[in-house]
Structure formats: structure tokens, C-alpha cells
């Protein structure tokens, strides 16, 4: 293999901030086995990617990779060491055009921690990419070059600009970050963070300090998660919950006060009209969560969204997060969380706890569950943890739902206790902290579901199933995997009007 000469540096930030590349662990492993088999030679592939553009920047989301067979699809070239054949390129650029995905040609160079395009590479981009942009009809085209622990990119956009890839996040069990070249050492962690930075180092603290994390639910699980994340040093938290603090929540909300719950007015012994005033004065749970976060870190940014995750505008606030926590128990929330993870390639974890009490009062089970979910592993749809019937029911106004039941629903609140919630919170936040700072062991094997049986004091681990035809995590033409802004989240265009006697219909039309 001839050594590439790095005469022209890859452009970085010339036409704006470098883009971020997010790649599923399965795709990365497939690529590395093909590109770097240990023969010291150059190999090629093509990746197709969705895009998400937000105020935090632009992310390319690798949906799938297609390996070029040496000698058939990746052949010796006159002006370069090797090239992809026109037939191979043509097949995949048309796929990108038809499915509105970015096209990325990939090859490898030698080296480990530093990589850049050679002069020959960059000249070939200038010769070929204008024509590819025409074929792609509005989709970006570009190239990635990979070494053992480094990745650089040269992305051409339809508006005539070129973008580099500043950071690549590989969604393995650990959330690995690689760059075109070694990054400068971060400043030393502050004195406040000294003890925790001794676990994951200044670099780990710096990573946590620039993450944006979404928390769906600010109740007995979500609120302590927000508080813990703030203390870890997370830069930006988005917390979403539609409820206000109720007096019955107080034993499970360590940060909440009696005043937050509208007490002393919000008391059962008082007349209804006084109690209603108290309930209206009660503080939204997200504001209590934001207060807890700011008490821990004065410089943290918290977006406290007093609303429902099923609302399109609220869910859209999470598309550029680096990690998601699901601490709400509705199936609609599960569905949105699962879609965000797969459509935008954001890893996350679902936390729940349950006490099963039979009608005769016998306690059948007390447990907490922690379910890590990545685009490769743990899809809630594939594991039948989202009920299509419940999705239908949960959006109905209460009166309609009640009318459609044969037997009156048991509306008694389910048992819940803070000690059990604390188990899930601790496991989930530890999993996140270790994954984000690269400290989980067995770096390739994905995390499985864990259920802690509190009465037996034992943890049961289950390996999640996967259905290749899944609309969220599968690779079928209708799946939303890594489609980013081109996909559609399972949300409603207006907040559910739960109090309405029935949903109102617009003018009827006839087909």
C-alpha cells in the first residue's frame, strides 16, 4: 500500500462549524472489520445517512453501510490508489436520492490517532462531487476517511459549501468519541468536581460538561435523575412533564416542599373550591426539577417544559440531545422515546418501578427495571413494551375512554415508594455516567435489560429481542432508523385535550 501524502489539510470549520457524525455500533464494527482487517491495504465502502439540523449544529446519522468488494467494487485507479467503481457509486447515490439520505464514500488510511484526506483524495472530490450532487438532488454527498482511532470527513452540500466532521460518536456500549486528530487536553476539573473527576479524569468531566440530556418525566424517578445529572456536571438538561406536584407525591419527591404541592390549601379536609385553588397554586414538577438542578449548579441550563411529550413541539426539543432518560410510564411516552432513539440515534435508558398487588392484597412482586436502549439494542417495540391499544387509549379524552370501557376502570392510584425509585435512578444514572465517560467494561457487548426483584434481593438480566421488520429499529424502507429530520415522530400536532367531553371534528369531507 502506498502511503497517502497529507499535503492539503482537510477543511475544518471553513464554512461553519464542523458537523458531528453519529454511527451505530453495529455499522462501525462492520466497517472496521472490512477496512482494517490487518492487511495494511486500502479498502472502501459507502454509508447512507440521515441529517438533523438544530441550533447545536448539524449531525449526520449513519443508517447503513455497504461494503465495496476488493477488485469488483473497489479497484485500482489511474489518479488514485484505489477507487469505487461507477456502478457501485451509481447504485448507492440513487438509493440516497430516492430515500433522501446523504451519500458518504469511505476508505481507510494507515495510522491510528490522526487521519486526513490526501491531496489525491481531495482532487478526486473536486472532480467527482459536483456531478454526484446533481444526481443526489438536494442530498449532501461526501467522503469519510478512517484510521484505527480517527475519522475525518469532507461533506459537500447542495448550497455549494463544504463541511468537515469535527467529532464522531460511536454508539457502542460505551459512547466512544473519535476525532480527525488527537484533541487538546481539557482544563483541569474544578475543585467542586475533584472527587468525581478522579474516577473518569478531566477528559470525562469535560465530556459531561458539554452534553445535553433529555429527561421525560419529572416525578419520583425523573426529578432525582435531573438532580443527579446536575451534580455530575451536565451542561444542559431538558425536562418534560405535564403534571403539578400533588401532596401525595411529596414522599417520593425529595426536592419538593409542602408549598410546591399547594399546601395547606390543597388538603382533602378543606372544601372543594379551596382545594382547587391550592391545586392551581401547586408548582409544575418540571419547575421543582429545574430548581433542584440550579441549586446543584448555578451555571447549568435547564429547559423546564410543563407539557406533554406527545406534543410535537415538546418532543422536537429533544432531537439534538446526547442522551435520553425515560422516567414516565405512559405508552405514548415510551413510543416517543423509542422513536427519538432510533430516528435521531440518541442512546437512552428507561427506568420504571412497579408493585404488583393482587385483589386480595397479596403482594405478587416489587421490582424496579432499567432498560438501556440504543439504536442497535433494546428497542421497546421489539420487546412488546409498547401497546398499540394503549397508544390509542391514552390519547382519548377521559370521558370518551370511560364510555368505551365495558367495566368501570379501577382508578385507584398504583402503589409507589421512593426507596424503590431510588434503585432505578442509581442504576440508570451510573450506566449513563460510565457509558458517557467510556468506563463500562466489555466495550462491544450492548447492555441488557435489568430487573431488580426487591423482595428476593436479586437482579434478573434479559437479552432484548430484535425484529428486523420493526418500524423503529429495522432497516425496511418504511423504518425511521437514522432518518433524522426526514422522519416523522409519533406525536400529536396539538396537546391532548383530556378534559374535553369528546374530540371536536373539523368539517367532514367525502372521498
Amino acid at each position: 500500500m502506498s502511503r497517502p501524502r497529507f499535503i492539503l489539510p482537510a477543511r475544518e470549520g471553513k464554512d461553519g462549524e464542523p458537523w458531528q457524525l453519529i454511527i451505530r455500533g453495529a455499522c462501525w464494527r462492520t466497517l472496521i472489520e472490512h477496512l482494517l482487517p490487518g492487511d495494511g491495504d486500502e479498502h472502501g465502502a459507502i454509508a447512507v445517512a440521515g441529517i438533523v439540523r438544530t441550533s447545536r449544529g448539524t449531525r449526520l446519522l449513519i443508517r447503513d453501510v455497504f461494503l465495496a468488494r476488493d477488485g469488483d467494487d473497489f479497484v485500482p485507479a489511474k489518479n488514485a490508489h484505489r477507487r469505487l467503481t461507477p456502478e457501485f457509486v451509481n447504485k448507492h447515490i440513487r438509493h440516497c436520492r430516492d430515500h433522501q439520505l446523504a451519500y458518504l464514500a469511505i476508505h481507510n488510511h494507515g495510522g491510528t490517532d490522526t487521519v486526513a484526506f490526501s491531496t489525491v483524495d481531495l482532487r478526486s472530490h473536486v472532480r467527482g462531487y459536483p456531478a454526484l450532487l446533481d444526481i443526489a438532488r438536494g442530498q449532501p454527498v461526501g467522503a469519510l476517511v478512517i484510521a484505527g482511532n480517527a475519522l475525518a470527513g469532507d461533506i459537500w452540500t447542495p448550497d455549494g459549501k463544504r463541511q468537515s466532521i469535527g467529532e464522531t460518536v460511536i454508539l457502542e456500549r460505551n459512547l466512544r468519541r473519535i476525532y480527525p486528530r488527537p484533541v487538546a487536553a481539557p482544563p483541569a476539573a474544578s475543585a467542586i468536581d475533584d472527587r468525581q473527576a478522579r474516577i473518569y479524569g478531566d477528559a470525562g468531566q469535560a465530556i459531561l460538561g458539554r452534553l445535553k440530556v433529555g429527561v421525560i418525566g419529572a416525578g419520583g424517578v425523573g426529578l432525582p435523575i435531573v438532580s443527579t445529572l446536575a451534580r455530575l456536571g451536565i451542561a444542559h438538561i431538558v425536562v418534560i412533564d405535564p403534571e403539578r406536584v400533588d401532596p401525595t407525591n411529596l414522599p417520593r419527591l425529595p426536592e419538593a416542599t409542602r408549598r410546591d404541592a399547594g399546601l395547606p390549601l390543597n388538603t382533602e379536609s378543606l372544601p372543594d373550591w379551596i382545594r382547587r385553588i391550592g391545586a392551581r397554586l401547586a408548582r409544575p414538577k418540571v419547575r421543582v426539577a429545574a430548581r433542584a438542578a440550579h441549586r446543584a449548579r448555578s451555571d447549568i441550563t435547564v429547559d423546564a417544559v410543563h407539557g406533554d411529550i406527545s406534543n410535537q413541539a415538546n418532543a422536537a426539543l429533544l432531537v439534538d440531545c446526547d442522551y435520553l432518560f425515560l422516567a414516565a410510564d405512559s405508552h405514548v411516552a415510551r413510543s416517543v422515546f423509542n422513536a427519538l432513539i432510533h430516528q435521531y440515534l440518541i442512546p437512552g435508558v428507561q427506568i420504571g418501578s412497579k408493585v404488583e398487588v393482587e385483589p386480595n392484597g397479596y403482594i405478587a412482586g416489587i421490582y424496579s427495571v432499567v432498560r438501556p436502549v440504543t439504536p442497535d439494542h433494546g428497542c421497546l417495540w421489539c420487546n412488546q413494551l409498547i401497546s398499540p391499544a394503549r397508544l390509542n387509549d391514552e390519547l382519548l379524552p377521559d370521558a370518551v375512554r370511560d364510555a368505551q370501557r365495558y367495566v368501570p376502570a379501577d382508578d385507584a392510584p398504583s402503589p409507589s415508594i421512593g426507596t424503590l425509585n431510588a434503585l432505578g435512578v442509581a442504576q440508570a444514572t451510573n450506566h449513563f455516567m460510565l457509558a458517557a465517560t467510556g468506563l463500562l467494561t466489555h466495550s462491544v457487548v450492548a447492555a441488557d435489560y435489568r430487573r431488580f426483584e426487591a423482595r428476593a434481593e436479586r437482579t434478573i438480566t434479559t437479552i432484548p429481542r430484535r425484529d428486523p421488520s420493526c418500524a423503529d429499529c429495522g432497516l425496511t424502507t418504511v423504518s425511521s432508523l437514522a432518518r433524522g429530520d426526514r422522519g416523522q415522530l409519533p406525536t400529536v400536532s396539538a396537546a391532548p385535550r383530556r378534559g374535553d367531553p369528546r374530540r371536536k371534528m373539523s368539517v367532514a369531507r367525502t372521498l
Binding site: 397508544l391 390509542n392 400536532s493 374530540r503 371536536k504 371534528m505 367525502t510 372521498l511
Partner: protein
């Protein structure tokens, strides 16, 4: 209206070209739909009815149920209507008096199931109700 809901309504209209498909948006991205009118088979009288249902904004992830038919539906053999038929209901959106048909799909698969397939299954259920009577005869 969500594009998948629009697609679901269009599939229904194409599948029943001889019936009128009427729909209205629910204001959240979903729709209320009535197909007028369809054959329910000999086990019921009147034998034909409009069939209505709501398509959730979360379709196709969300199941399409329950369905609604005319309020004066009765069994041809005079037997009372029993579960899954529930008289005395209102069809949401259109606010029509109706008999509710609750056929929940426990194995609903968003990648395969559609509003029109579900409607076919509901109609099949109505039409299959005649079979035990024929066997008895």
C-alpha cells in the same frame, strides 16, 4: 393531518369504491372516518350499516379501535347484542348515536397492519357470526 393518517384514509376509500368514505380531522393529526355503507352479513338486521372509527394521530403505531355501526343494529335471530357489541354509544367526532364494536388487536403490528385491514377484519367478524346459525340449521 399526519401523512400516515391521510394514507390510511385513502387506502380505505380505494378498498371500498362503492361506499362513501367521509372523514374529518380531529385537530391533533388524526381523523374520524365513516364508510357508508357496508354489508354486515345475514346474522344482523338491518343487514347494512355505516361503519365508523377514529384513526389516532399515532397511527400506524396505534391500533384502530373501537369501530361503530348503526344504533338500531339487532341480531337476526332476536338474541340480544353481547360483547364485543355495545349499544347506546356515540360515534366520536361525528356525534352519532351508535353501537360500538370493540375488536382490539392484541397483535397489532405497525409495520403490517393498516386501518383498511382492520376494517376488513371487523367486517369478517360480523359476517362469520352467521356460521353457527347455519350449522345449527
Amino acid at each position: 393531518m399526519n401523512p400516515s393518517v391521510t394514507a390510511g384514509i385513502n387506502q380505505v376509500a380505494r378498498a371500498f369504491p362503492d361506499a362513501r368514505t367521509i372523514y374529518g380531522e380531529d385537530g391533533q393529526g388524526g381523523a374520524f372516518v365513516i364508510v357508508d355503507e357496508l354489508d354486515l352479513g345475514p346474522a344482523f338486521t338491518p343487514r347494512t350499516s355505516w361503519v365508523g372509527f377514529a384513526i389516532s394521530p399515532l397511527y400506524p403505531r396505534a391500533d384502530v379501535y373501537p369501530h361503530f355501526v348503526r344504533p338500531d343494529l339487532a341480531r337476526s335471530n332476536g338474541a340480544p347484542l353481547i360483547v364485543p357489541l355495545n349499544p347506546g354509544q356515540m360515534m366520536p367526532g361525528f356525534d352519532r348515536p351508535a353501537t360500538m364494536v370493540s375488536r382490539r388487536s392484541n397483535r397489532w403490528d405497525p409495520s403490517r397492519d393498516t386501518a383498511v385491514l382492520k376494517l376488513h377484519r371487523v367486517l369478517l367478524w360480523f359476517r362469520e357470526q352467521a356460521i353457527p346459525e347455519r350449522i345449527a340449521a
